[in-house]
């Protein structure tokens, strides 16, 4: 099975970093969609089949907490696998997000941490690992 993945973050740099890590993770990918805030992300979720959502918390227009609440309230998307990728440090807020079934990856994250969380959340075990994404060589660009 190849995954359709949505990355929601208001930082284009962070989206690029996450997509880069995804492509090197060995997780089979069918498509990667991007959105800059929760409202835009919800539109993608409604229009496309998404298997995995990587979601920031602090964003303009609609934050990640609200987007996740709406996703869990919709019968069609309530079981979507979600990983929160954020600098959020409020334990209250993080506990609320975890209670809604989201895994948490704290920024800054070593790429291996994001990869391991993706594999755990997706349940993928049979992957070919392409090496550390910390390298900045052109050979590793996509």
């Amino acid at each position: 099975m190849a995954f359709n993945i949505l990355v929601v973050d208001d930082s284009a740099v962070m989206r690029t970093m996450i997509v880069r890590t995804l492509k090197m993770s060995g997780v089979p990918i069918a498509s990667i969609h991007e959105a800059a805030h929760g409202e835009e992300g919800l539109r993608v979720v409604q229009e496309e089949w998404i298997d995995l959502l990587l979601l920031d918390v602090n964003m303009p227009v609609m934050n990640g907490e609200e987007m996740l609440t709406r996703i869990r309230a919709d019968e069609r998307t309530r079981d979507l696998a979600v990983i929160i990728v954020s600098t959020e440090g409020s334990e209250t807020r993080l506990a609320n997000l975890q209670a809604m079934g989201a895994a948490i990856v704290h920024k800054p994250f070593p790429p291996e941490t994001l990869r391991e969380t993706i594999l755990r959340v997706t349940g993928v075990t049979d992957v070919e690992y392409y090496g550390s994404v910390a390298a900045s060589s052109d050979q590793l660009d996509f």
Binding site: D10, V13, T16, R20, T87, E88, P108, D138, D141
Partner: protein
């Protein structure tokens, strides 16, 4: 300035540069690093139990390296992306520092990183609550934390609150 706040600023900055930009900061600047100009700066404002801003200045010679480590060599050639990469570093430093300073229960809203010019990097009358200067490669990194508002003294001078935040 609280020495604890300065220590927390150092911790948040070092871990962010290492994990996000794969850049190890030197606690002491060499002569070459000390002379490198701080000619690229970005600010992140925050609002919550306390409000303020974090200003991250670096030698512009570091920008391509930071961007390359975060995005890859190809993307790093684009100057706007180099600036965005520095903005993301500032955002993550700020996001990691605030719970350490204000406690793990505090909820903050961070503004989008704002690129600063020479004219806007300093505001008349502003005094930083904590500062940090480090060396990095052939350049320099400088971080300043400014806290404004009535709750500033509670959040930044209560050493027990700081300690509690630091271990949470």
């Amino acid at each position: 300035m609280s020495s604890t706040t300065a220590q927390l600023l150092r911790r948040a900055t070092s871990s962010t540069f290492e994990d996000l930009a794969f850049l190890v900061l030197d606690d002491e600047c060499t002569e070459e690093q000390a002379q490198a100009p701080l000619d690229a700066a970005v600010a992140v404002e925050f609002h919550g139990p306390v409000r303020g801003r974090l200003v991250l200045s670096v030698s512009s010679s570091l920008l391509p390296l930071i961007a390359a480590n975060m995005l890859g060599e190809e993307q790093a050639r684009h100057v706007p992306l180099q600036r965005d990469a520095l903005g993301e570093v500032a955002n993550v430093v700020c996001g990691n520092l605030l719970p350490l300073v204000a406690g793990a229960e505090a909820v903050f809203r961070l503004s989008a990183p704002e690129w600063l010019t020479e004219a806007t990097v300093s505001r008349p009358g502003d005094e930083p609550d904590a500062t940090l200067t480090c060396g990095a490669e052939q350049g320099r990194v400088d971080v300043r934390l400014f806290v404004f508002g009535g709750e500033r003294s509670h959040a930044l001078t209560d050493s027990s609150a700081l300690a509690a935040g630091a271990v949470s």
